[in-house]
């Protein structure tokens, strides 16, 4: 036996093996994106923060000012209406109506959106890809004329500001929120404060979240079955309502690009060529492209059980009915106005396809959606009406 040869092999093996071991690890450096966790975001540490625009940094002072303005009827033209009139906390900041009604009684073509985690919205409106920040959005309901929402206009806006200036609390709060301005009470700052309050309306404490955090008993067995159905290629739900906010239209600081996603889900087909009702045509109203007919932003499903009726026009009354809508692959309206077979809409998303579920599975899926209700969000005093305190 050649002992020197074996010795040489042994030495080589030992030496190289020692060199080819190290600790396994994955180091993550997000570049200091979590620096402003000092603000009370109501967002768990393991979730990325929403984007905050440089010209409106978040602060507790602005959040509290925005909260006061949100609940203040003096901010409307007729002084009879506030943001909270259409965005009620107990309903996850929607109003329970199919279509919102403004300060002058005018009906809005859209259903009031829930204000849940909207800080993450990649685009803000139901059907407008150009409105992408809360600062852009806040003035729209204040000054909107078609339809009138808060009823502020050229003739009464000075009066509205005078009302706010007359409020001692606002004198103090505006100065605290905008310390570098000598005359801070104006509409640009009102929009910034409202955006800051809305940016803080975050909900991550539903039974589903608790289940995800490791509490196996936080949701029922039926909800677990429903969850499996939801994240299943059969139902396709998660393709449009995936991610931490249960919507594809979500943008946070960890992302480099924002998806301003819009989908046609087969609600209408008035002319057999994909037509949606006037005033409710989705981003087609902005782009004019035929393929954009009926395309709307998928909303978050967090707290969805509280926000009936559903869809951009509130035309589906319940979660059960929504599930059955998708099971049919769209809606076929045979009577009354808006008749047409939405299932055959040529612009319908490929994810909206017929599938079969048993009654038990429908109940399971509904129970999963109900497990997304965050009671601590709708009862959080931080988000409640400060004028009632």
């Amino acid at each position: 036996m050649n002992s020197r040869g074996w010795l040489a092999i042994g030495i080589i093996t030992i030496m190289t093996s020692a060199c080819v071991e190290q600790d396994s690890q994955t180091l993550i450096n997000t570049g200091g994106l979590d620096n402003d966790r000092s603000f009370n975001w109501n967002i768990p540490a393991n979730y990325p923060l929403p984007v905050v625009h440089a010209d409106n940094p978040i602060s507790e002072e602005k959040f509290q000012l925005g909260r006061h303005l949100f609940y203040d009827q003096r901010l409307s033209g007729p002084a009879n209406f506030s943001c909270a009139s259409c965005h009620r906390q107990e309903l996850a900041f929607t109003d329970g109506l199919a279509q919102a009604i403004g300060a002058t009684g005018q009906k809005h073509p859209r259903s009031a959106q829930a204000l849940v985690n909207i800080a993450y919205n990649a685009s803000v409106n139901w059907g407008n890809p150009t409105t992408v920040t809360l600062e852009q959005q806040a003035p729209i309901p204040l000054f909107n004329e078609f339809p009138v929402e808060m009823g502020v206009n050229d003739s009464n806006q000075a009066q509205v500001l005078a009302r706010l200036q007359a409020e001692p609390r606002y004198q103090r709060m505006f100065k605290a929120a905008f310390p570098n301005e000598t005359q801070p009470i104006h509409f640009a700052n009102i929009a910034k404060a409202l955006a800051s309050f809305e940016r803080g309306l975050n909900s991550f404490n539903s039974p589903f979240d608790q289940y995800e955090a490791g509490n196996q008993f936080a949701i029922t067995q039926a909800a677990k079955r429903g969850m499996n159905l939801f994240f299943n290629e059969k139902t396709e739900c998660f393709h449009c309502h995936g991610g931490m906010n249960f919507t594809l239209s979500s943008f946070d600081r960890s992302q480099s690009f924002a998806d301003t996603e819009f989908f046609n889900n087969g609600l209408y087909n008035l002319d057999g060529k994909g037509k949606y009702p006037d005033g409710g045509e989705g981003i087609f109203e902005i782009t004019g492209k035929p393929e954009d007919m009926g395309r709307f932003r998928p909303p978050t499903l967090r707290n969805i059980a509280l926000t009936a009726p559903y869809m951009h026009d509130g035309s589906i009354e319940s979660l059960d009915a929504v599930i059955r809508h998708y099971m049919r692959g769209g809606r076929h309206i045979t009577t009354a106005v808006n008749a047409g077979d939405g299932r055959a809409n040529p612009y319908k998303s490929g994810f909206v396809r017929p599938f079969d579920l048993s009654e038990q599975e429908i109940a399971d899926l509904r129970e999963f959606l109900e497990s997304l209700t965050d009671d601590s969000f709708i009862n959080n005093p931080r988000f409640a009406n400060p004028w009632a305190e």
Partner: protein
């Protein structure tokens, strides 16, 4: 003289010969003009190494290529028909068609020209669709290697097996020393098609009294653009209920270096001891991206495999120990999300141990039974396997 399959399974035959495939157990006549052969491996497994989603994704590692786990139950590991036609003493063409586990279609595995210039006999040139030859683990089929399962090194660092369009130039500088270069199109992990991969290697063969030793060192660099894990992305269907992992892409460079050796020593007339070893360092630097996320990515991965074995007559008892160490760094806004989506969060050192008994029933048929302790995933797994290998020279003149 009868050469057994066992000997070829234990030895990376052909490494020091001029380029050619590893069929020397079949007593190939070097002057034959036409040779046609076949090989086949089939195995039954007691279990499959997969995670809760039914996938084999080793935490801490970007995987790809053909690194797929065996399926539970019986399967054909591979079946190949090959031919070598030599129309001049220094020119030959080699072709092979075959199929692998998980594939139903027959595919062209090799088609290349082998040429030895008359004036430069120490040089050998191969060009075409060919197997990489820089390491015993670079490219192999279950029917021509010692263990039915591909080595963990190969699975982790080059997707199991490399056969690609390319060019190889060997220089037999000395009877015991060879240098070579391989230039590949890049249609294999960790490269992406068309981006290219290049290999340099040196190999030696020594005999120290009765001890036979073969060893080599090699370096490979590869480029990738938007490389995804195609194992679980292609064929994705929305009508399927299977889980599809996030489509995280890598763009950047990979640099691999390796050292290997194989050795054998007769202990008596019927007993022979052997030892195989390979160590690899794989570095990657580039960018990870998903639809909305991106982050800079750096990786330093290490791995080795040790295989002592004893051969007694027609029996061979072998043990294989394989281990990986995985160090990853992600920098940028999307780092946390991408680390999770790419399955890179890991502090474990994946390892696998296999104990195998093989029996050479006759010249063409070998049986093998193995026990594997698999700790490559978060949950440990063990499995047994029993299989056979058949190799046959069908025609020669």
């Amino acid at each position: 003289m009868r050469r057994l399959i066992l000997s070829s399974l234990l030895w990376p035959a052909g490494l020091l010969a001029h380029s050619g495939e590893t069929h020397d157990n079949l007593e190939l006549e070097p002057t034959a003009q036409l040779q046609i052969g076949a090989m086949f491996s089939a195995t039954a497994y007691s279990a499959q190494a997969t995670d809760v989603h039914g996938l084999w994704r080793i935490p801490g590692l970007l995987m790809g290529g053909e690194a797929l786990p065996n399926a539970k139950g019986a399967q054909v590991d591979d079946a190949h028909l090959w031919a070598r036609y030599q129309w001049q003493p220094n020119s030959a063409v080699y072709a092979a068609v075959g199929t692998h586990a998980g594939h139903t279609e027959l595919s062209l595995e090799n088609l290349y020209l082998d040429y030895q210039p008359a004036k430069f006999e120490k040089l050998n040139l191969a060009a075409g669709l060919m197997d990489a030859r820089f390491s015993p683990n670079a490219s192999s089929h279950p029917s021509e290697r010692q263990f039915v399962e591909t080595s963990l090194l190969a699975e982790a660092f080059w997707g199991g097996s490399i056969h690609d369009l390319g060019l190889r130039l060997d220089w037999q500088a000395h009877p015991q020393l060879k240098f070579g270069v391989e230039l590949h199109d890049g249609d294999f992990f960790p490269a992406s098609k068309g981006e290219g991969a290049q290999v340099l290697f040196a190999q030696t063969e020594q005999q120290l009294q009765e001890l036979k030793l073969k060893a080599g060192i090699w370096g490979l660099q590869a480029q990738a653009v938007q490389r995804g894990d195609e194992r679980y992305q292609t064929g994705h269907s929305h009508s399927s209920s299977s889980f599809t992992p996030p489509d995280v892409r890598f763009t950047g460079k990979s640099a691999l270096m390796g050292l290997w050796l194989t050795s054998s020593l007769p202990l008596s007339e019927t007993l022979q001891a052997g030892f195989d070893y390979e160590a690899v360092q794989a570095k990657a630097e580039g960018e990870l991206s998903e639809t909305n996320y991106q982050a800079a990515y750096q990786a330093k991965h290490l791995g080795y495999t040790l295989t002592p074995n004893l051969q007694y007559g027609a029996w061979n008892l072998s043990y294989r120990f394989e281990k990986l160490s995985l160090d990853n760094r992600l920098i940028g806004a999307g780092a946390a999300v991408l680390a999770q989506d790419a399955n890179l969060l890991n502090t474990a050192q994946p390892q696998r141990q296999t104990l195998q008994l093989a029996w050479q029933a006759n010249k063409n048929l070998l049986w093998r039974a193995a026990y594997t302790q698999d700790d490559t995933l978060a949950q440990a797994d063990e499995r047994f396997s029993v299989g056979l290998v058949w190799q046959q020279l069908l025609h020669e003149y």
